[in-house]
Amino acid sequence: MDFNDTPGDAEYRAKAHAWLATAAAEYRDPPARAVSRGENVPESRKWQKIKHAAGYTGITWPKAFGGQGLSPMHSIIFNQEQSKYHAPTELFAIGLGMCIPTVFTHGSPALIERYVAKALEGEEVWCQLFSEPSAGSDLAGIRTKAVRDGDDWVIDGQKVWTTNAHLSDFGIIVTRTDPSAPKHKGLTMFIVDMHAPGVEARPLKQMSGGSDFNEVFFTGVRVSDSHRLGAVGDGWKVSLTTLMNERLAVGGKPGHAPGYRDLMALAARIETDMGPAIEARDVRQRIAATYIADEGIKLTQMRALSALSKGEAPGPEQSISKVVVAKTMQEMAAFALDLSEASGFTTTGGEPGIHKLQGSYMASAGLRIAGGTDEILRNIIAERVLGLPGDMRPDKDTPFNEIRAA
């Protein structure tokens, strides 16, 4: 067992570290105020292009697709080094992490040629059009339909919780093309132009106050059959490629999210009527519990990475990450706000440390849902890792148009 970088990894880290020291110098400090993704588009583009020119994009992608052809370890090392800065990376995360890998796994050579390089260079922004108002965890229950019309398909319906749809140039969309087939069998995936006539993205305001999500309406939107991903009726299988990549991408802790260090620092500053908060046993217990979760997930990912680097398939360890990360963030933030008494509640004035924890408390509720709810992820662990019987799904084999809507 060796916890350190191999000589090759250490060399790559040193190179990335040195490059970032110059290239990312302007992102060394946190932004003076919270900036929404929308305001960040030009800045995100600029940073993506700088990285691309230096060979730090598509690190694990095949060279044939414009990637670097390196290992997941290299990608993680670069991300670890990049995370020491406050560079804007979120805008392209969905496109490069989930959509484009689906395009180059299931798309025609012409689609790969047209879209992959532009995404990599930060020219075009992508979104993932999956969830619908009546199809969240039960994703195969989507109703947005695509009907064949000559060389085109015509899409009608509504998507929701679509991150960055209002900023995107293209999306991958899963549609129902055969309502008489059971719900997992009648789906087909397409690339859709988000600027096409009939596409309307309406930002949703979240309970945290931010607006990263949208509801997206499709009215008679025409998509060429050449923009199909995978075979007609194979949309569920194609979606699983995206979802697997999604779970890898969203598994860890969000960059710069507060953790045990923030709780420790806060507890050291707070004076209670029984002395400094950090001396109280319950506070120390909570710091320990947060450390166990924060560091435990980091170490779990390193275990998975070690297995990957030895050519072993990544184990099911990853599936625990999101459950632990999101709930820990919520509990830790709630505990910190409790400790802070009134200043944990008021959002004007006060210290920036509190605002970060308040933000984390509000965001963690959504994090427990995005990319699979705590309940769905526990089902996955119980069924796929522990081999327990599958959940009751009485509609699984029923033709979709015979399933009774609630």
């Binding site: 435990g296 170490l299 069924e383």
Partner: protein
């Protein structure tokens, strides 16, 4: 980075798992509970013959000289099997002698531990509510006086490594149990499988083993082995719960299909995976002599106790009424949980030790 055990350690783990699956487990634990023997002498001899008490002992002292990873995997398999033998104790004592012993002390004790002629145990507790950071036993001119209790497997032991008060806090001492001033008495505990005892020392000869700093270093190493032992026990409890959930039917379907049951099992797995990640990190820190040893050991200890308590308690719950009966095997894991907490100090002690080490690191960084 290679964050996993070596192939040697993994091979040893497989061998130990196979052996304990055949020779130990709940049925053997039950026989021990119902019998009069203080430990399973036949099983113990087999373990000695397999060379497991010699695994960590340097070749110069008649051992195999494996890395500390060997002790970790053996502790885990001993914990998984509930084996009523003093293996975990031998591993903890060996670690103390290797880390803190002088050349003379190692030459005196390690060959006997390796060949089974010495059965070694360790103990810090004194029967009250004190933490591992305290000791009231005193040493005066090479003689130790005090009471150490509970000590697991004491009745089988021929040598004990115990803590006693020193100028800088507790330190360890070796006591030859065949000497003068040594009293051994059985005590009842919540763990009915592994027997515990009280060691009464009245001016017994005691040989100092390291200093106060060495004692704390040993405590960390023992905690790491204890974490692997607890994970082994927790894994066995989880496996038992999952197997039952797949087999038991209620309301017309297997209970493992209900999310209320399924999610408990998933949570057992989640807690175990977190514990495993910390325990592996701590095992690395121990072998590498890394500066984060205390932090890693404390985290492994807390995470593994969390995993074990949850698995042991919810295993009974998933079994329903049958799980609460004397005939069910659930009680062994439920009881062993208490034994493993008592062996090295509670979650409170170790959570505080973790935060203290984090504070210290912050001070160093600042």
């Amino acid at each position: 980075m290679d964050f996993d055990f070596s192939d040697d350690a993994k091979a040893l783990r497989e061998q130990a798992r196979k052996f304990f699956d055949e020779r130990a487990g709940p049925a053997v634990a039950r026989a021990s509970m119902n019998g009069d023997a203080t430990f399973d002498a036949q099983l113990w001899q087999a373990v000695v013959d397999l060379g497991w008490t010699a695994a960590r002992v340097p070749e110069a002292h008649g051992g195999v000289g494996m890395t500390s990873e060997a002790a970790c995997v053996l502790a885990e398999e001993a914990g998984r099997s509930l084996a009523p033998i003093p293996l975990a104790q031998a591993l903890a004592a060996t670690e103390a002698l290797i880390a803190l012993g002088t050349a003379e002390q190692q030459a005196r004790w390690l060959p006997g531990i390796a060949d089974g002629s010495v059965v070694a145990v360790t103990g810090w507790a004194e029967g009250g509510t004190a933490s591992p950071a305290k000791a009231s036993a005193t040493v005066d001119g090479g003689s130790i006086t005090g009471t150490k209790s509970p000590i697991a497997d004491l009745a089988a032991a021929t040598m004990a490594i115990v803590s006693a008060a020193g100028p800088d806090g507790p330190a360890l001492y070796i006591v030859d149990l065949s000497g003068e001033g040594v009293g051994v008495a059985a005590i009842d505990t919540l763990d009915l499988v592994r027997r515990h005892g009280t060691l009464t020392l009245t001016g017994a000869a005691a040989d100092p083993l390291g200093d106060a700093a060495g004692y704390h270093d040993w405590l960390d190493r023992a905690a790491i082995l204890g974490s692997f032992e607890a994970m082994g026990t927790a894994t066995a409890a989880m496996d038992m719960a999952v197997a039952y959930a797949k087999e038991r039917t209620a309301f017309g379907q297997k209970i493992g299909r209900y999310q209320g049951v399924k999610h408990k099992c998933a949570d057992m797995y989640i807690k175990l995976e977190l514990a495993r990640a910390h325990a592996l990190h701590a095992a690395w820190a121990m072998e590498a002599g890394a500066p984060e040893l205390r932090q890693a050991a404390s985290a492994a200890r807390v995470a593994s106790l969390d995993a074990l308590a949850f698995a042991a308690e919810e295993n009974v719950q998933i079994h329903g009424g049958i799980g609460f009966t004397w005939e069910s095997d659930c009680q062994f894991y439920y009881r062993r949980n208490r034994a493993l907490v008592a062996a090295l100090g509670s979650r409170n002690f170790w959570a505080d030790r973790l935060v203290r080490s984090l504070e210290q690191r912050n001070r160093v960084a600042a």
